[in-house]
Amino acid sequence: GCPKDDFQEELVIRPLHSGDIYASFQFRTLWETDFMRGNKVSHYRLFPKSLGQVISKFSVRELHISFTQGYWRTMQWGQPFLPSPPGAELWVWFQDSVTDVDGTWKELTNVLSGIFCASLNFIDSTNTVQPSASFKPLGIGNVTDHRFLRYATLPREIVCTENLTPWKKLLPCGSKAGLAVLLKSEKLFHSSFHSQAVHIRPVCQDWQCKTTSWELRQTLNVVFDLHTPGQGKLEWSLFKMFSRTLTEACPLASSSKIYIDITDDPQGEQFEVSPATHLLSQAMVLGDRRTFSVYDLTQQITFGTVRSLNLLIRWKSRDMLRPLLHAERYVAGYGLQTGEIHTLMYNNHPYRSFPVLLLDSVPWYLRLYIHTLTVTSKGKDNKPSYIHYQPSKDRVRPHLLEMLVQLPPNSVTEVTVQFERALLKWTEYTPDPNHGFYVGSSVISSLVPSIVAMDTNSTREQPLFSSFFPCKEESSYFMRVYTEPLLVNLPTPDFSMPYNVICLTCTVVAVGYGSLYNLLTRSFQIEEPSPGLAKRIANIIRKMRGVPPL
């Protein structure tokens, strides 16, 4: 019979303490099918065909791609449900049947580049790495040989409408119905942060995990800036944010819900949500127990008599808990010869230390001096328990540095490494060389101790956003933090006057150097005109007589 497929959509809204508002969309398509083992899958219903073909053609086991415009401000906004670095990020696990991984990766990036209208074709060997520990498969499967993993970021990639449209087209309802009607680009790109992602992975069909399904998650995170100075209560509504209201769920969706995070307001003093709902839900999100008001769009009653849902919230912004883990990075030093990359990792937990995996991928034109690598916490040397370093090859591959560092409680750990700026060939400079060159974000992956002990609720009832990263240990949760990308200036020639330079150089070499060399190496003597025959004979005679010649 026809393989079963299922589509769910969900929107989580969290008022942030800084006064901004965070909206996170998730769309999940599950399909019980098998792209592998020579199966020709040709009948697509909910799952987008373009991605299905990519999976089968390139033997992809897992694919994660994100496009982000802006930097997630961990200190102001807390943790995002799904972190992503500024620019584009792509990481793919291939099936172990793939023989030429690099070739397949190259092709895959070009195909994805077309699908998402992005410059993913700029991914090549100079910005691709194979992390040994930081990016483990998130779906089922037992292959962890990192030969089948490829990871690349394009920190300079600018995300805009042309990336959003193809992303929306992957949805079963497109942007015609359901939550996706809210995704209007003129509002989404009038925000402080915008991130969209696609995650494909194989997951278990049931708890016994006898058969597998393919899961496609499309996520979109956006933070709206609601700064209005001198105002106590902040107000927000669906219409104000998206300039749309909701009238129906996507008819193809088995579930369509809106969650509003009301955790910070147990007594209802801070918050005012209208229309009110009695549906409440609790979930563990990033180590914290959160309470949500739930609106089920599949129920007609949600839309009320006006047949339109325009959620409205008023709340007060307050100070917030410092996030347990956050990181920042910068370039130290001045001048165009050397520099130093500083990565700071903050553990704000009052009494627990935890290990983090730091992944740094640095382009070859910053030549890292790995002997200058230092890791210090609280003024003391902090020896990493694992270091994986792959030096760069000029014009071929980047530096890869991965290490496992234990962060002491309540501390800042500083990782520094010095580098030298390479002189590029003149054709290798970008068209805007004085803008600088980008170094992608470093990635910090960690199991962070949970604030609340893990809940033992049945996992089926959990909202989607809480169940992405598999979490084995109950007392801690997985977290990934991206630092800001770096913009580094390289020594740049003055491209505006190549003609002058060529002329001057040629003149100096030809006239100046040539003649000077000539003058310095030759000795000049006045040469007498050669004497006549008579004089020569006379000289021979004089020589025989022992008299000095004429």
Binding site: Q76, F189, L516
Partner: protein, 615 residues
């Protein structure tokens, strides 16, 4: 070069150069000075123009409305400053936070090597407060800085007010593509130095500062605002930074363009530009403006808080509000609009400012002289040194004319030993090292034994070492070889002339003004001095043309150009304070003028002094 390959013609050329050496040198000197003076003549200069396309064609509209409110904030700031007796850190943090910025503070402390009597400080402790306006959807890779100093007394309160007003206004705009950092720095340059070192995590001068918590990536440009009155008559643009570094000319062009657009009187070196370039007074006005710039650049000190940014390749300038007795006044709203316009254009930048000139002089804000035009003036002076060196070389290379009896002067033929040249070189450089190190190290001893303050002790020690250098027994070669040989001083002079040429050449490449001023006084010394000239008169001229006296004359000239002439006694006091400031600039910010003069220029001058007393 065929000219030189032909021995006959070469001989002719050489004899021409040796016979006419002195006249050619005089002509070169005159031509160099004339060329330099001609630079201020308007028809010889270029009009400024915007080179950066990203700032040129895109017009922006300035709408900053809240000048009055900004001044109110400034008054509030002033009240809190008085109450706190310094930087009102808490108030600033709260105010910036309420304007929607991410606010951070940085503490710093610095013990000066000796008390700064001009600014009355010794142990400096302070706090910088800065707020970052995060650009929406920007990945924290680029930033712009707007700073205002928290000055003692009633100065610059309005600047802080305008800064906070702009922060509030900017926060509600959506077009920012770069983070904007609003910085209020305490203790002017010391605070700025601490902040910049913290931002770039360098430590060049041994200052203590707490690490910065928030950053905005690589800083593309910075402006520092100084404003001490509610209304101003004109805005002055200060460009000269540490070690004579200048920001890209496009930054000055940007300022000028907006002053023109908004209708604000703008000046550079405090001088308005005039239109009557063809009159004598118009020309002398341009010369004054240019000379002021040359003097300021030559001093190597940062002339505003922007001066320290330049080391980090951040284009920066200071904008000073000037309130004089003129009818036409500009209010804070207009200044705010001007800054808004400048920041919006800087925000449009796709690359760092690099299109326009980094080396230039400005005889007025609308005209500039680029490096290609002013370098010949220095080149003509440096040519004298090369001609003299050539002359000496030829004298040393050609054997002296044989005497009638055919016996060559054996002693003259023998080349002087290495020691006779090396000894004066080493001694004069040791004197230079003493001049560089002793003043700061001996201040405590000096204070114990003499009734002077530490600062006076440092300056007087410096002058004492300098004078003692003149009295040192330089003619050590006599101890080595019996008596000074004729060739001995020629070799020494050849070495000294070439040394001076290299030294001045390198200096002029980095800091043209310093190189040119030093060349003006040292080149004549180098050219004329021999052991055979009249001792007393020459010695007097040499002392007059020595680096220390150059500085003294520069102080008087500078005051004259600023139209604030001083009496000799005041000038002398000013001179002493300039010396102490120079040493402080070196210790605090890493200015290189003092070590350059003490370790290289002064020893080089001593070599010529040595030649004078060779016999």
């Amino acid at each position: 070069m065929g000219l030189l390959s032909d021995p006959n013609r070469r001989r002719a050329l050489i004899s021409l150069l040796t016979r006419l050496n002195a006249p050619i040198c005089v002509v070169c000197y005159m031509a160099g000075v004339a060329w330099f003076m001609g630079l201020a003549f308007e028809p010889f200069t270029l009009r400024t123009y915007m080179s950066e396309n990203a700032m040129g064609s895109t017009m922006v509209e300035e709408r900053f409305p809240a000048g009055e409110r900004a001044l109110g904030t400034g008054r509030e700031f002033s009240a809190h400053k008085k109450k706190a007796g310094g930087m009102p850190v808490d108030w600033l943090v709260k105010t910036m936070q309420s304007r929607g910025l991410e606010v951070f503070t940085q503490r710093f402390s610095r013990r000066l090597p000796f008390p700064d009597e001009d600014k009355e400080r010794y142990m400096v402790k302070g706090t910088n407060v800065y707020g970052i306006l995060r650009a929406p959807r920007a990945p924290r890779t680029e930033a712009l800085v707007l700073s205002a100093p928290c000055s003692p007394g009633d100065d610059n309160n309005q600047a802080v007010g305008v800064l906070l007003g702009l922060a509030q206004y900017f926060r509600n705009q959506v077009f920012w593509a770069k983070d904007i950092i609003f910085l209020v720095n305490e203790h002017d340059l010391i605070g700025m130095q601490a902040w910049l070192e913290g931002y770039h995590h360098t430590n060049t001068t041994g200052m203590d500062w707490s690490p910065l918590q928030g950053r905005g990536g690589s800083i593309q440009a910075a402006l520092s605002l100084e404003l001490s009155s509610d209304v101003v008559t004109s805005l002055d643009l200060v460009l000269e930074g540490l070690n004579g570094q200048l920001p890209n000319l496009d930054l000055a062009n940007l300022f000028y363009a907006f002053c023109q657009k908004i209708g604000v009187l703008c000046t550079t070196q405090g001088k308005l530009q005039r239109n009557d370039w063809d009159s004598v007074s118009g020309y002398s006005h341009a010369v004054q403006t240019m000379m002021l710039m040359v003097m300021k650049q030559a001093s190597g000190r940062p002339w505003g808080d922007h001066g320290l940014f330049l080391r980090y390749h951040i284009e920066a300038a200071t904008i000073k509000g000037i309130n004089s007795f003129r009818q036409y006044k500009t209010d804070a709203t207009t200044i705010g609009r001007l800054l808004e316009g400048m920041y919006r254009k800087l925000n449009n930048l796709l690359e760092r400012l690099h299109q326009s000139y980094f080396f230039y002089l400005m005889p007025s804000l609308s005209h500039f002289v680029s490096i290609g035009y002013y370098m010949p003036a220095f080149g003509l002076l440096a040519l004298i040194l090369l001609l003299r060196a050539l002359d000496l070389w030829i004298q040393l290379a050609t054997p002296p004319p044989r005497t009638e009896d055919g016996v060559a002067d054996a002693e003259q033929m023998s080349s002087p030993g290495v020691l006779s040249v090396l000894t004066p070189l080493v001694i004069s450089h040791l004197t230079g090292v003493a001049l560089y190190t002793l003043p700061i190290h001996f201040q405590e001893i000096a204070v114990e034994h003499f009734p002077v303050s530490e600062t006076e002790a440092v300056v007087l020690t410096a002058i004492a070492v300098y004078t003692a250098g003149l009295a040192l027994p330089h003619n050590t070669h006599r101890l080595l070889t019996g008596r000074g040989t004729e060739n001995g001083w020629k070799v020494l002079k050849l070495v000294a002339v070439l040394y001076l040429a290299v030294l001045l050449g390198c200096t002029a490449l980095i800091n043209f003004s310093l190189g040119f001023i030093l060349a003006l006084t040292l080149v004549p010394v180098a050219a004329f001095v021999t052991p055979d000239v009249p001792k007393a008169l020459s010695a007097f001229i040499m002392v007059i043309l020595s680096p220390a006296c150059t500085l003294l004359f520069s102080v008087f000239l500078f005051q004259e150009l600023q139209e604030m002439p001083v009496s000799f006694l005041d000038g002398w006091m000013l001179y002493l304070s300039v010396i102490s400031q120079g040493i402080l600039d070196h210790a605090l910010y890493g200015s290189l003028v003092y070590p350059l003069v003490a370790l290289l220029v002064y020893p080089c001058w001593l070599l010529f002094w040595n030649i004078l007393f060779w016999k």
